[in-house]
Assembly symmetry: C2
Homo-oligomer: 484 residues x 2
């Protein structure tokens, strides 16, 4: 049986790919130095029109989501400690403005595009964060998602008054309780259960007959008393279209996988090959089913990828070579320092990090070496690492014609079992416009994508999972307080 046929021999219906545009509110997200490219506009990241224009482009083309990364400090490990200088020339994720303030204005000029915004459970009070997302879910009419992170930069910890970061697994324990608090405030509870919630579904009817904007008895305290948080409530916001914003998550550690399998409705996955990604997908789906009783298909799997596409393979490679000339290697090594905590400046130019005795770096670099054609036998020293990271950071890279790229994406779907992609940009404008011109028509002709939406103005959860409210098998649903 061919892999593209079902058991009875009919063609397998193809997955409709979920396509996110992956961006950041800064001059240099994953391709440091490209702001100097005259075709690029990311130096205008601090202008609202830069964002509303991008949002309109993506909306028109049928992208599902603009996914905005975020960090809360500078990348200051390389040539550090506490030195952001290597990031300054390239604007490598520094400076970086708060992404959530972009959403209402972008929602106002688009119809269907949704917005996934990164925010941390480590540095913002759950009561305040619940309010921020409720506010934006109201203003964007349900087209927002929260990418839950626990933060990994020492520089962020120090600026929030800590001597050092909260330990990794402890951050996830805090995040678990954090989610309990926000579900209670944002979602409310079901009578037969012990869990408490805050606003009943029909709590704010704006009933001019009875004179009740909201109804006493349908709003109550959550009285959360936990190890990390005490939050009596009630939630300060009435229910927004999604109540709990659609939940993105990206953890891959043991603690991160458990967290994602429990809370995530879409999971953002890294990995150089579909096989590597498939291992994570399997583990997440298994954990979701066995540990948390969820239908494993109620989590959408989204792989991060960098695409350089043009009319022919040759043109695409030529484009890549031209893009490389704008790359900033110092910025790339600064990003690497932030991601790994390792300062490569303290090593010699010759050091081959495939064998440097740094376990985390070693496995990462070996994996890169395995996937870069013609890289066998070459030294992966800091120059080569920098080169690898220049276009799209650690994301796997696909370069070629629409056919080449679409073939490769199909392979990721088949072998990696993913539902869609977080598409990094190298320049903006540029990368997304190329995908719209060359790749999307090819995907559409293969039945893998359509720019036509099923429902105009759908919420994020409707767009990803078919309904606005949390699915019944999601852990947050136990807190739902339904109308009788």
């Amino acid at each position: 049986m061919a892999s593209n046929e079902t058991k009875d021999g009919s063609p397998k219906p193809k997955k409709q790919l979920l396509l996110n545009a992956f961006v950041m509110n800064c001059p240099g997200h994953l391709s440091p130095g490209q702001w100097r490219n005259p075709k690029n506009g990311t130096a205008n990241y601090n202008k609202l029109s830069f964002w509303t224009s991008l949002a309109q482009t993506l909306d028109k083309a049928g992208f599902h989501c603009m996914f905005i990364a975020d960090v809360l400090g500078g990348y200051d490990v390389y040539k550090g400690p506490a030195n952001v200088d290597p990031t300054l020339s390239s604007g490598a994720q520094f400076p970086v403005n708060d992404p959530l303030y972009l959403v209402p204005a972008m929602a106002a000029v688009t119809k269907n595009l949704t917005f996934g915004i990164t925010a941390s459970t480590t540095y913002d009070a759950p009561y305040a964060l619940a309010r921020r997302f409720s506010t934006v879910d109201h203003l964007a009419e349900g087209r927002v998602a929260w990418n839950i992170v626990t933060s990994y930069l020492e520089s962020a910890a120090r600026n929030f008054g800590l001597d050092t970061q909260v330990e990794h697994d402890e951050r996830y324990r805090i995040a678990e309780e954090y989610m309990e608090v926000v579900y209670k405030t944002a979602v409310a509870y079901s009578d037969p259960k012990l869990w408490e919630g805050s606003w009943r579904d029909d709590a704010a009817p704006r009933d001019t007959e009875t004179g009740q904007f909201a109804v006493p008895g349908r709003v109550r305290e959550i009285n959360h008393k936990g190890k990390y948080f005490n939050v009596p409530g009630p939630h300060i916001c009435e229910p927004s279209p999604q109540r709990t914003p659609f939940l993105f998550q990206a953890g891959t550690s043991k603690a991160g996988t458990d967290f994602g399998a429990r809370h995530g409705e879409a999971i953002f996955l890294g990995g150089q090959t579909p096989q590597k990604v498939q291992e994570s997908v399997d583990s997440l789906r298994k954990t979701a089913k066995e540990k948390f009783g969820r239908d494993p298909r109620h989590m959408k799997m989204i792989a991060g990828i960098t695409i350089i596409v043009d009319g022919t393979d040759e043109k695409a490679f030529k484009k890549r070579d031209e893009l490389l000339t704008y790359g900033d290697r110092e910025g790339a090594l600064a990003l690497f320092g932030g991601w790994t905590g390792i300062d490569l400046s303290t090593y010699s130019d010759d050091e081959d990090f495939k064998f440097a005795g740094l376990p985390a770096v070693q496995s990462m670099v070996k994996c890169w070496a395995d996937t870069v054609p013609g890289s066998e036998g070459l030294k992966w020293n800091k120059a080569r690492i920098a080169d690898f990271l220049l276009l799209g950071g650690t994301m796997p890279k696909i370069v070629g014609s629409a056919k080449t790229v679409a073939d490769e994406l199909e392979r990721w779907v088949d072998e990696g079992d993913v539902d869609g992609f977080n598409l990094a940009h190298i320049t903006n404008p540029g990368s997304f416009e190329d995908m719209i011109e060359f790749l999307l028509p090819e995907l559409e002709s293969r039945g893998l994508f359509t720019a036509t939406v099923e429902k105009e103005g759908a919420t994020t959860r409707e767009r990803f999972l078919g309904q606005s409210r949390l699915l019944d098998d999601h852990t947050g649903s136990q807190y739902k307080w339904r109308k009788d």
Copy 2:
């Protein structure tokens, strides 16, 4: 010498009044119950179009600022403790969404209107708040202001994990250090001084010749180590048009006056009569000059006021009577409970609060009694207090024709020494449209107001004080890091 003449007998040039529209991101700001009025739209506070439409109306009419109040908890003292039920029918400042998310979208559809947003120094980390306002100052191209508050609701404190509020004067000590941190991050410092700052004025030139987005050596840590905060920096945002957002403040206690006289660039004043307000104005200007070395005219004095205006006095009074029919007395008493901490439900219906032995309430109520015509000898029991608060809360009220209202505003300017007004609304749409139709032409004909701006797209500080950056005699200016 008549008060409207200068010493040499020529007519005194009239102050150009600064006019703010006073609103809140909730269904019932200071006039609980009015959401039921079919002319009112505040039940749509959670829709972005409600706000963009208001912003365009105010912008076109020449208002200087939309001033958005905020609280971080419900008014749960009346019939409490911890009971928000009395606020639910009327939507009395509950639910209430986060106001800062409205600004970029409103800025995008307006040219000159500025936005004053309330945010607290008690519950948000200074590093995070500096980032929020820098982000919005970028996106709104300098048209934002921060109304600095320290928060007064127990309900907010509890939801941020405290057993009770931080004590009043301690909140101001924290706020003092908070300002030091944000000036350092937002403003930067001057070389000859010891103070440190973060980004030099010319730190991010986006210089394609040198390949530098930002320049090493022009960005540095602030290394703040204080009693309440440790913030090494650097600031995560490059300089925005105003750097420090324009600063509103409204404290009237001893600690609040010191804080306002030091940091405030516009002060929001309460008080039933121009004489009462003038006492506060005098004290603030004196403190600013003597204690903090500022030109006392570098603080704009803005009095809160509620106006009901129509074609004739008679029509205005008729309008008031009709508005009163939508008022919700339970909501008014709930607001009173939050403002004073006193639950009037525990007193008999007959209790006259002019003599109830509650010092704070007594002086407030006596002051109201003195200014409401025909109120001599009447009992100020809870019903009368509720009636007084129904339209515009504790704000002094002016009802009448454009001439009547303009005469009264002129008296406030002359006797109260104020520079402008925070104009409360009773309905929205409604109140501001009435002022635009009846009052503004009258003020314009008297030379007190013009809808014409001096400079298109001016920043908030330019609009209020003539320049975008902090004035040199402002305490924050000592931290400035100027280009050599």
